[in-house]
């Protein structure tokens, strides 16, 4: 099946690279061009005249833009990181139980989990917003993190279950004969074997939560808890003329997810395939 590199393949490969990377390259190009250079009638395809000043404006501490940027970055890290940790722990126990045990109601429960996979966020957003408002927790991290957990959990349980089911049960049985308790078996015997699963689920949840926009925009009113996904359009609205600065903000906001994909693609792919398969 694997054929050699024909001109057709090569040409198509080039198209794929252009399709995937040109939008990103273009933002990078704009972000590194001086505001004067950006006033030309037609844009230059390389940053000319070159400047890094738009990044120093975003990153050099003390300016209004950088203060807002660092706050949004911190919020993104807290929200995506928090959702990731909670989801992984909950999905680990849930996925393990669904993979290994059959108990009264387990089938119904699991089918419910699968059904909520395709429940749009929209269907639950408004009651949750009203509860959050009643509880006075709008503009805090709690609802944002919890909704990110709820949005990711069905897929996370599904992926975790399929990873556990792929492990041979003999090892746990041996430990069980030796008298290890179930929690101990999970934490000390199964968990080390599940490192790739934990990594896969963690990365997927982190990336989807990092991208979240609808929930943060519903549940926040000030910049106190607004993540980068809200910061970027706000900046665009505020600085309509300064597209270099907007491009720099966009590039910085996608830096973390892109680095995660590039460095951890192995886990990401295996996790997404488990989620998609069957």
């Amino acid at each position: 099946m694997r054929s050699r590199l024909t001109p057709l393949r090569l040409g198509f490969g080039l198209l794929v690279l252009l399709w995937c990377l040109v939008p990103i390259y273009w933002a990078l190009n704009v972000s590194l061009t001086t505001p004067v250079g950006l006033l030309n009638a037609t844009a230059s395809f390389i940053p000319h005249p070159f400047t890094a000043s738009q990044y120093t404006q975003m990153l050099h501490p003390g300016t209004a833009n950088s203060t807002a940027f660092y706050l949004a970055l911190r919020n993104s890290v807290i929200e995506a990181g928090g959702a990731m940790i909670i989801t992984v722990v909950v999905a680990l126990f849930g996925g393990y139980a669904f993979a290994r045990w059959r108990f009264a109601g387990s089938r119904t429960l699991f089918l419910t989990v699968v059904a909520t996979l395709s429940l749009p966020l929209l269907a639950v957003l408004i009651p949750l917003y009203r509860w959050a408002a009643d509880l006075g927790i709008l503009d805090t991290f709690t609802p944002i993190i919890l909704l990110a957990v709820a949005a990711s959990l069905p897929l996370a349980v599904w992926i975790m279950r399929s990873f556990v089911a792929a492990l041979p049960p003999d090892i746990e049985a041996a430990a069980r004969i030796d008298g290890a308790g179930e929690v101990r078996i999970l934490c000390h015997i199964v968990l080390p074997l599940l490192r790739p699963a934990v990594a896969a689920v963690g990365i997927i949840v982190f990336l989807t939560s990092w991208s979240a926009f609808l929930v943060p925009v519903f549940f926040t009113q000030t910049s106190k808890t607004q993540p980068l996904t809200v910061f970027v359009p706000n900046l665009v609205a505020k600085t309509s003329q300064n597209i270099g600065l907007q491009a720099a903000a966009a590039c910085l906001a996608m830096l973390v997810p892109i680095v995660v994909v590039v460095l951890l693609h192995r886990f990401l792919v295996s996790g997404l395939l488990r989620g998609a398969g069957k």
């Binding site: 490969g13 794929v16 995937c20 040109v22 939008p23 273009w26 006033l39 030309n40 037609t42 844009a43 722990v89 909950v90 999905a91 126990f93 849930g94 993979a99 290994r100 387990s106 429960l109 419910t112 909520t116 429940l119 749009p120 929209l122 269907a123 639950v124 408004i126 009651p127 949750l128 917003y129 509860w131 709820a150 959990l153 003999d170 090892i171 041996a174 030796d178 008298g179 290890a180 308790g181 179930e182 000390h188 015997i189 074997l193 991208s211 926009f213 609808l214 996904t229 809200v230 970027v232 359009p233 903000a249 906001a253 996608m254 997810p257 994909v261 693609h265 792919v269 997404l272 998609a276």
Partner: protein, 324 residues
Amino acid sequence: MDRSVLTQSLGDPVGGDPGGDEPVGGRALLRRIGRRGLQPRFLPYLFVAATVVVLAGLSLIPLAYSISGSLHRGSLLSTDHSFIGLHNYIAVLTDPDFQTAFKNTLAYLVYTDIGVLLVGLPIALWLRGLKRRRRAVMLTIVLIPWAVPGTVNGELWSLIFKPTNGLLNSFLLKVHIIHSNIVWLEGAKALPLVSLTLIWQTVPIAALIMLAGLEYIPGEIYEQARIDGASRLRTLRRVTLPLLRPATAISLVVASISAIGIYDQIYVLTGNAQNTISIVQQTYLYAFKVLDFGYAVSAAMIGTIASVIVSLVVLKFIYREIAF
């Protein structure tokens, strides 16, 4: 997978440690012996408890409230919250603003599904033909657009579509296809171009799903097709595409659900313009501008029902069980 069977099936107790570094010994047995009585009955429930709490509290119960809310008056400007049956649905469905949003969303769905097929399928076929290492590198690059957050995605494409100085106009001017700048994000052009940003974001997942589907097709079938003298195009049409139906169906469901939920890109690219407004945006407007939660939940439920129907239709007509 009954646990007692698991325990009995233990042929040899797998000597050494299989990756864990925790020796399991007799002391553990003594310590755990009391706890073992708990396991079969209650422990599974303890393990799934958190999952159940999250799904019940944040999905199922709110969903019930949404449904109930859609059947009651929900204006924030009045204290009357009496039961009114399907009145909210009728009001929403006959509201011209909602009808526009609904039609637009349907258009997003069609464009996105077609785009995902036209771009995702060739990418999957191309990836399948690459050697292992090259494929891993290319798959990583293909996945990058998926990881770019929606609003950032919108900003990237807005820099491309900018009338002055945008990439598209600059390029077309330089190669002399156009002689003056075109305003891209207005009129009838806007919606397909916004769909393009969603296609850019969804193609990675679709390509990955279809690549996995291609891997499931046994090599012998291709061997047989070659022996029978089938051309490559014919093999693609008669073997690959039919056997890829399940993966294609799942890709389309994923693409359709994202299209029905489209919001982030529009927010950045065209705001609340009538020619691109989506159901999610209209829901937001009902909740926070019209201040009627009854309308908002009904609009949301209509979007939800549309997602479910589309998923079922796609699965029914494209997904067919395949036996090798």
